[in-house]
Symmetry: C2
Subunit: 485 residues, 2 copies
């Protein structure tokens, strides 16, 4: 049928034009609606105060500072536990690490590791069609079944545990550790025999991460970059050695900043920076016992291995242009636990079948600070001991035996100071809004807050247990053991 | 003479076109080459940790956070002394306040004030054709000859000293202070009789500051906005009261953030934001004795009235689009002392005739972090006692009698805790790069650094004196006295 009425012809023409315009518009707009690539940087023992934006002195971190100004910085973000394996287990599962039975730092040949029944962030994204790669430190078990390729990653290159777990480390000479191997896929690739070898790790991982982006630029990808540094033993490449005013620690930080810059530059080069969610954070606070070879808590109390803020408050930057507001700062209470559910949701992946502890913070991430997704509470465990609970910015620390760095002169030149373990920590109620340094115990002034936090603690003990009180929680799940289970 | 050669005619035509283009270009570009307007915000007792970008919890400061991301933030910036009058004297003269004999906090009717022979920043800019206005707290003497209009300002509206110096303040009832007057020009304008009056101060000053910009949009101006808050007694307008999760202190901070936002919006509205240098900082750290009515040092040790970092490290933001890099962070050691010579230079004004202690940081401000303009050292005085010296990020604190907040439960609801004065402070050598909280005295480990800092202290004593050692410096200048001198 020919349409002769010129009005109709005009109307149809306009409709067609409009449709084509809308179609083109939809196509042009598609990148925004697409699920993003994900680049997740996870540093080792980097303290809250180690970035330019958080007040680092003696060196600069221009790439990280720029990342912060292009995205949102979270100033009230806590690692799930203040030790390596525990924190990484939480990152990849969204669970308090004691729910999984994974805490402390697993040694070489450990009979336990991540339980294959736990679903990792990598598995969820892989199921959704993402290419998944990890270039860096794993530390969730170094036996075959625990390694990354058996837990959701397509590609792996890095160290399986901390790089102080080797015979050449200045203060581990009697630990009888095996030689540290870099792992490629599932097999040893190259032994790290000297500090010179270690000094090449950051640049080698950077090269792999950049290559991963280049190779997979045409498919969605999840790139996990857990740098083994600035954990001791420190080592910087010749390009950065001696370059900072803060000695080797500053040099190492400059190299890490460079690494982040290289990886972000590759995203840009491939035209992917607009459609990639970048997350940068750390596993726990600084190992202050190492003095000039340790980072800075930025003035927060204590450091790694403690449940004071210096142990668990870590830097956190997130960038996704057009989705995560630029130049914004959020002070909502958040945790490493929240990364898995948030990233899974943004990527259109499902949530894990097992119960997890993290909450999806997508609304907050997009700029709505009125959203209080995690009901603003958090438990501070060390291993399976409940050392503190938090509600909003009130924190109740229970008396406990633990680590302290205060009153101890730290070590120098890579050697640690005297042992800092098993002191009697008094505890107290702290108002972190006006006392971020946890100096003033105000239990006496706020009995009603103490009661409220005690209730939260009871819920934690019921759920997860508390060795301080010899309590076994109901909902802990079995850790992965040799042979799997 | 007619030019007949068509080539010449073309050449002349092109030259003329080019000249016109260049002229238009120069005219369009002029704002960049012009000397800038200056807006200087100077807060009262606002701590390092009181901004979103420096980790404030319980409220947000979106306008200040945006200002930080649009300009450069300085994380190693120190007030010249940790008390009100002293710090303000340094700001407006570029001198250590003890060089001028001005320290502590001048009370109502004080016989001393700023010496009319000192050249203030306002005088230098006024001489250069700037319109100068101050809307807020003066505190450099409240007798006629000491007031702003006699010291370089064309316009003044605000309080002459701290607004806790009034009879209605909860803990000043026995001080026999006169009723606090707002001053307009040189004369009392309106008595501040109640906290409700005080709650209107921030918005009233904001209105005046906005009006000043509007009135003088066509001439260069210097606008100085020293808000009397968040110093106690706290008061917020009905619009902000009860709005933060941090009680009245958070409400007051939200109102100050709003005020900054209003003033920046007026700059934008008048098309002046591109040609205005904006500086935001504070006179000293938080008055921790006031507990929930005090700000946060962000984890730094101690607060107002002490020479620990919590007393003198203050937030500092500077913005001048196209000149001061956006989204940048600098950790170079800087001081309130440096504002006068820097602003004078940027505005094409001369430097003061008298010797000053500040240094011009223009190169650094423009983005060159390799510049070390102030040779990276600083003296920490309280009144005329040299309590500490700094070189780079090493700080040597001398044993001294002084204020401490540690171990004292702070007050609540606007009432202070117990007196915190005249304790025996032990002192020590601190490496602020890895120990920003000044917890580890490393004198024993670094005798050569102690010797170097002792030398600097000797130079300070020779120059400025030291009451701790009963030394009188050679280069102190006479304070202003009644009748002028």
């Amino acid at each position: 049928m020919m349409i002769r009425n010129p009005f109709f012809r005009l109307a149809i023409g306009l409709t067609l034009s409009l449709s084509i315009t809308l179609l083109i518009g939809a196509w042009v707009e598609r990148p925004k609606a697409q699920t993003p690539n994900v680049v997740l940087f996870f540093m080792d023992d980097m303290g809250y105060g180690d970035l330019g934006v958080t007040g680092a002195l003696g060196y600069s971190t221009p790439n990280l500072d720029r990342l912060a100004s292009e995205g949102t910085r979270f100033t009230n973000f806590l690692a799930a536990q203040a030790v390596c394996t525990a924190s990484r287990a939480a990152l990849l599962t969204g669970c308090y690490p004691n729910r999984l039975g994974l805490y402390g730092a697993l040694g070489p040949g450990s009979p336990i590791g991540i339980n294959p029944n736990e679903e990792t962030l990598a598995e969820l994204l892989k199921e959704k069609g993402y290419r998944t790669g990890i270039f860096g430190k794993w530390h969730l078990g170094d036996r075959h079944q625990f390694l990354p390729l058996q837990n959701g990653f397509d590609e792996y290159f890095g160290v399986p545990y901390s790089h102080d777990m080797w015979p050449l480390h200045p203060n581990q000479a009697n630990a009888h550790y095996p030689i540290l191997n870099l792992i490629e896929g599932n097999t040893p690739f190259k032994a790290v025999n000297t500090l010179e070898d270690a000094s090449a790790i950051t640049s080698a991982l950077t090269e792999r991460a950049v290559g991963f982006i280049r190779n997979h630029r045409k498919e969605p990808f999840f790139l996990y970059v857990p740098h083994p540094l600035p954990h001791v033993p420190l080592a910087a490449s010749a390009r950065f050695a001696g370059k900072s005013r803060r000695g080797l620690y500053g040099d190492v930080m400059m190299e890490i900043d460079w690494s982040v810059g290289e990886i972000l530059a590759e995203l840009k080069k491939q035209g992917l920076d607009k459609n990639t969610l970048v997350i940068f954070t750390s596993d726990n606070g600084p190992w202050l016992n190492y003095g000039d070879h340790a980072g800075s808590s930025g003035g927060f109390r204590e450091g790694k291995g403690t449940s004071f803020e210096g142990g668990q408050r870590v830097p956190c930057l997130m960038r996704w242009p057009g989705v995560v507001p630029a130049g914004r700062v959020s002070n909502k209470l958040l945790s490493t636990l929240d990364i898995l559910p948030t990233v899974a949701k943004l990527c259109g992946a499902r949530q894990p079948k097992n119960r997890i502890d993290g909450v999806d913070i997508v609304t907050l991430l997009k700029g709505d600070d009125s959203a209080t997704p995690r009901e603003q509470f958090l438990y501070y465990y060390r291993k399976n001991s409940l050392e503190a609970v938090r509600k909003g910015d009130w924190k109740l620390v229970f008396p406990h035996p633990g680590r302290t760095y205060e009153g101890y002169l730290p070590g120098q030149g890579g050697k640690p100071g005297p042992s800092t373990e098993t002191h009697a920590i008094q505890g107290g109620l702290y108002d972190l809004q006006r006392d971020p340094g946890e100096r003033y115990d105000v239990r006496g002034q706020h009995p009603e807050i103490v009661a409220e936090l005690e209730k939260l603690a009871e819920a934690a003990r019921e759920d997860l247990g508390d060795e301080l009180q010899n309590r076994i929680g109901k909902n802990a799940r079995p850790v992965g053991r040799e042979g799997g289970q």
